[in-house]
């Protein structure tokens, strides 16, 4: 099976290289048959990478420890459900997986455009296959998952098959770990498609709003996956790492945040181009930046140049990535520069107080956020290079820098949608801002009275109320108007309103999700922690909770041994049931891991960790954290996801445009045949 995988990989590489050439030739000659061949090459690439992926997965599932990759990342005792993710648990496998996802995206892009954008598609193929060539090349040359173990002795090399593998890192044996990496990769990889469309629009000089309409969807999908992946990663950290938080500004977390922020900026400023024909160059810059950062993120995660909790084995793929990043930057900026003349703005700014300038400031803050996170993440490297001094840039730095930026962004989230396109007079502003501001002021005063005196927390909650009220206002006003015009009842009006313009109202729901996220973040200010050595019968008071240790137990299965504390929890005298925090020792890897016990409500989480055992007394150290409002972070993430899905549904207006476009196309085709 190792050979099959290698064959697949080599063939995929060949198809990818052919795709680059054929795509470019088809685009240059505008030849349908070369294009057809290039499209088939994309299919070939997909089939071959799929072959490689399946053979690796087969090796993993059949416990073939002769394969080096399987031996170092899997073991016999690993439950089946955790054997599947072994595919992307290590450097080699995850690069292969990355390439596979790229082949799926490229295939979909070609297939969905088989009858349209026939001028753009050849170059899209060429660029996607260029990226594919790079990734299959490093998978084949530097991080090949299909190497076999062998013993080198005086008589020569003999194949070697260990009896069992090293096992999967226990921290990764957690349910959200099965979908977190694929989501994240789907995010990273997917930005290749909008980038390819942007580049081919530049190359073919097709710079009307066509490419941007095509690209918007292709950006929203990976953006959605990336965001979901980030939230799932937070959930994983919260449940597995045992320190009661979900975000630590770790370089790898930052690496995933960077393209997400840049993509957010792009998704906003795209509207400027669609509606008003403005910011054409800037949108190009943003999509280039987004793609660049997603490759940069992949590079940061893998090269080991920055230490991180997510560290993959250090490897020598760093220089390859550096060269690739340089090629991307040089190529895209050159093409952009050559076409600057075609990217003139069609409109001017009519008024300083308008939706347009709202978007401009939104882009400003998002880009400042990108810069701050990027700078903090790479500062250790810079400091090492300049001063030869190793420094750490951790949570205190990012919290101080990013909280003000985040609040500013939240503020704009509320203000932007209330400004009208082109021009908003003072009259209109007064109309739109009064109610949300009064609402926020009342809630803000109440919060202050209730004891929220921490400035950032108060501001965050105040702004959340403001944004929340303004979004509800948008829905309410829209529905009321529809009710007046078409005599619908309220719910029908809300539904039709939303479906008529899914982008806008889906966007509002995404904003709502962001508000909920910020509510969750604000809760961190009220975090409470305590810990105590406990044996049977011992009591621990944590705010309103009273925790009694009933007994200590333990056990084992083929994968791990564990000890657990059985704790009875009461709050204000009401029994809340039992909690069993565990401590596991995984046998294959001999690594310990805490399995927390969690009792979640919308108001607060009771988070209990069995942190260790005192060898003298035999008691266990119980660490209790009361984490207010954490659930809102997950709910917020979910709402963002749902809002994005809603915005992806074609709205009535868009369908009309599509209709017009189709008839035009037929006309063009008819002309052509004539």
């Amino acid at each position: 099976m190792n050979q099959v995988g290698s064959v697949g990989l080599i063939a995929a590489l060949a198809f990818a290289i052919y795709g680059v050439v054929a795509g470019a030739v088809a685009g240059k000659l505008r030849s349908p048959r070369v294009l057809k061949s290039a499209q088939r090459a994309v299919l070939g690439f997909f089939v071959m990478i799929t072959l490689a992926v399946f053979s690796l997965e087969y090796l993993i599932l059949t416990d073939n420890f002769h394969s080096a990759y399987v031996a170092s990342h899997s073991s016999r005792a690993l439950p089946l459900i955790y054997k599947i993710p072994v595919l992307w648990a290590g450097q080699e496998g995850s690069l292969l997986f990355w390439t596979w996802l790229l082949s799926i995206y490229a295939g979909l892009a070609v297939w969905l455009n088989r009858r349209k954008n026939r001028q753009l598609v050849p170059y899209v193929i060429s660029i996607c296959m260029g990226v594919a060539t790079f990734f299959s090349l490093i998978t084949f040359l530097v991080a090949n998952p299909f190497t076999q173990l062998s013993l080198v002795s005086a008589t020569g090399t003999t194949p070697f098959t260990p009896t069992d593998g090293n096992g999967l890192n226990p921290a990764l044996q957690f349910h959200s770990m099965i979908i977190h990496p694929p989501m994240l990769y789907l995010g990273y990889v997917g930005f290749a498609v909008p980038f390819a469309f942007a580049m081919s629009a530049l190359m073919t000089r097709q710079l009307g709003d066509n490419w941007i309409r095509v690209t918007r969807r292709w950006t929203m999908v990976p953006w959605m996956f990336l965001g979901t992946g980030i939230v799932l990663g937070g959930q994983w950290a919260y449940h597995v790492l045992g320190w009661g938080g979900y975000w630590a500004w770790d370089p790898v977390e930052n690496a995933s945040l960077l393209p997400w922020l840049a993509g957010t900026a792009f998704l906003h400023s795209v509207m400027m181009q669609e509606k008003r024909g403005m910011m054409k160059v800037w949108n190009m810059v943003l999509i280039i930046l987004t793609f660049f950062l997603s490759i940069f993120g992949t590079f940061l995660t893998r090269s080991g140049i920055i230490s991180s909790v997510h560290a993959f084995a250090k490897s020598d793929i760093g220089p390859y990535f550096t060269v690739f990043l340089a090629i991307i930057a040089a190529f895209s900026l050159t093409v952009l520069f050559l076409r600057l003349d075609f990217l003139k703005s069609e409109n001017r700014l009519d008024s300083v107080v308008s939706r347009e300038s709202g978007f401009l400031f939104n882009n400003w803050v998002l880009l400042a956020a990108v810069l701050a996170v990027l700078w903090g993440t790479i500062f250790p490297i810079i400091s090492k290079a300049v001063e030869n001094q190793t420094v750490t840039v951790g949570p205190p730095f990012f919290n101080r820098v990013m909280i003000p930026i985040g609040l500013l962004l939240l503020f704009l989230t509320g203000v932007g949608p209330l400004l009208a396109w082109r021009k908003t007079s003072f009259q209109s502003i007064k109309r739109n801002f009064t109610v949300p501001l009064i609402f926020a002021a009342v809630v803000g005063a109440f919060l202050f009275w209730a004891g929220v005196h921490h400035l950032y927390t108060w501001m965050s909650l105040f702004l959340c109320t403001f944004v929340f009220a303004s979004i509800l206002g948008e829905f309410y006003k829209g529905a009321r108007t529809r009710m007046k015009i078409s005599k619908e009842n309220f719910f029908a009006a809300v539904y039709n309103l939303t479906m008529r313009n899914t982008r806008r109202y889906g966007g509002y729901i995404v904003h709502l999700g962001i508000v909920l996220l910020f509510v969750g973040f604000a809760g961190q200010a009220f975090r409470f922690e305590t810990q105590k050595l406990m044996g049977p019968g011992d009591l621990l008071q944590a705010k309103d909770y009273l925790i009694r240790c009933d007994r200590l137990t333990g056990g084992e299965n083929s994968n791990y041994t564990y000890e657990a504390a059985v704790l009875a929890v009461t709050k204000d005298g009401h029994a809340l049931g039992e909690m069993r925090p565990q401590r596991r020792l995984y046998l294959a890897s001999q690594q310990p891991l805490s399995r927390i016990a969690l009792r979640s409500t919308l108001a607060e989480d009771l988070y209990v960790v069995l942190a260790g055992r005192d060898p003298d007394s035999g008691k266990v150290l119980i660490h209790v954290i009361i984490n207010p409002l954490v659930q809102w972070v997950w709910i917020g993430g979910m709402v963002v996801l749902l809002g994005t899905l809603l915005a992806l549904v074609p709205s009535r207006v868009e369908r009309q445009m599509e209709e017009i476009r189709k008839t035009e196309e037929e006309a063009v085709e008819a002309n052509h045949v004539l």
Binding site: A248, V309, D350, A368, F379, T390, G394, F411, Q656
Partner: protein
Amino acid sequence: MSSKKLLGALIVCLVLSNAAVGARSPKQIEKDIGNKVYCMCGCVTTLNHCPHENCPVKSEMHKIIRTDLAEGKGEPAILHALVARYGLKVLASPPAEGFNLTAWILPGAGLLIGLFLAITVVRRWHTPALQGVTPASPVDERVRAAVEEEMKKFGG
């Protein structure tokens, strides 16, 4: 512009958040320090968040902090001692001095330069002439009628 005011408010917040450190118990100081330094065992998390059980480095660091606290040293002195022992990388964020000052300045500077650029762009793109009630140029009545006709079709 309201964002300018907001920026002012944010600067005030930054100052306030620094000043909001009152008297603390030794336990609280230890916890605060634990958030400001990294555990040097290689776990790449702050001292308070090191996931390792019986981590020798963690207990050593805690011991240093506790002894110093017992001797009546304050937070700055303890941080200084930890830097002397483990090097600058023990601090969870670089000190705001020397070259490391750039780490702190650049994001803020980026924000301000970005604001300046955004305002410049708004100014430059802004053409008050177009604000007017009149269409961009006088248009033939027939064309106007055709436009209204087409629009009705579009809206239907």
